[in-house]
Symmetry: C2
Subunit: 212 residues, 2 copies
Amino acid sequence: MTTQRKAPDAARRNETARRAILTAALDLAGEVGYARLSIEGIAARAGAGKQTIYRWWPSKGAVLFDALLMLSEGQGDQPADLPDTGDLEADLKTVLRATVDELNDPRYSEPMRALAVEILLDPALAADFAERLDEPVRELKRRRLSRAQAAGQLAADADLDVAVDLIWGPLRTRWLYREGPLTTAFADTVVETALNGLRPGASSRPTSPTPT
Amino acid sequence: MTTQRKAPDAARRNETARRAILTAALDLAGEVGYARLSIEGIAARAGAGKQTIYRWWPSKGAVLFDALLMLSEGQGDQPADLPDTGDLEADLKTVLRATVDELNDPRYSEPMRALAVEILLDPALAADFAERLDEPVRELKRRRLSRAQAAGQLAADADLDVAVDLIWGPLRTRWLYREGPLTTAFADTVVETALNGLRPGASSRPTSPTPT
């Protein structure tokens, strides 16, 4: 962030402008969709100059990407850690249900779909996305699964990257391709099936390991 | 297809032109990528007139969609059925390994990525895709899983739509977002994990039900 090197007051003003621009981008993407989102529109909504936006970001895709980073960072600097009550199944359901809520909310869903398109078209943005958002979030997921593995709740030889794909992938494809309703029941079934497997006898195994 | 209503000779000529255009679209998409693919380029490569292409298709996305349908239909009219040797795990690995080969081949992968982008941007194309390609292929997958379920190789209460998402989803997201290498080892692990689950003890269950 270039604001770090400036005087405190200028830095604070820049940060305020930056947040206004990112919020405007999110709002507009949710309202008009990505195709009709423009730098001009974002500038007007944010009360900022077009040149300010172009000075900080090369494209509307890049603005949206930072806007989504702002959302995922919440109030702090780091993405929020995944819940850990000791009950892996319950925790995963909590996380996936929250994702279902997000994906059903156009304020999140539209910018995320727009970003997905930009990533497919723009290898540089894709690399940036992988480094700054996808990989850190994936690391949080792996870390939660790794703790479950250490506690004997996941198979010792389970490939945690495959596990992440299996648990989070179905929701993502169903959303991206608009293949079906995104419901908490779907989220729950995905978690249960990923943990227990599709073979017969799965349901006879415990579905809730001892919580701590 | 409008060619059906024409005289046999004209229909044959149209079908030849149509296939030349679709093949040119696939070749070019693989060579130059989707962003630089144009109706003009397709026309030149196919030795056809631009107007002919515009008469049959509204956009380059629509051309590519029909080109991919042509590929998936193979020589016949229907998508190929999934293998059924009686050994579900082996059959699923065969299918996913073939998908890995396809997705690692730019001739297939580039047009499919391009179509994915178009589908995200164009709800009409998305509906067409769902009806003409995605849903028929999903039905084949469900049918294979349903036979396995009847044979007691899948849990009686398994949700077959979730099962399809779990088995095919991880490969699709890893490919689409370029999140990791697409290997036969990945395909195999996805199949094994989807069938056996992530919990401990999974590996002690039989991984190959009796083949017929």
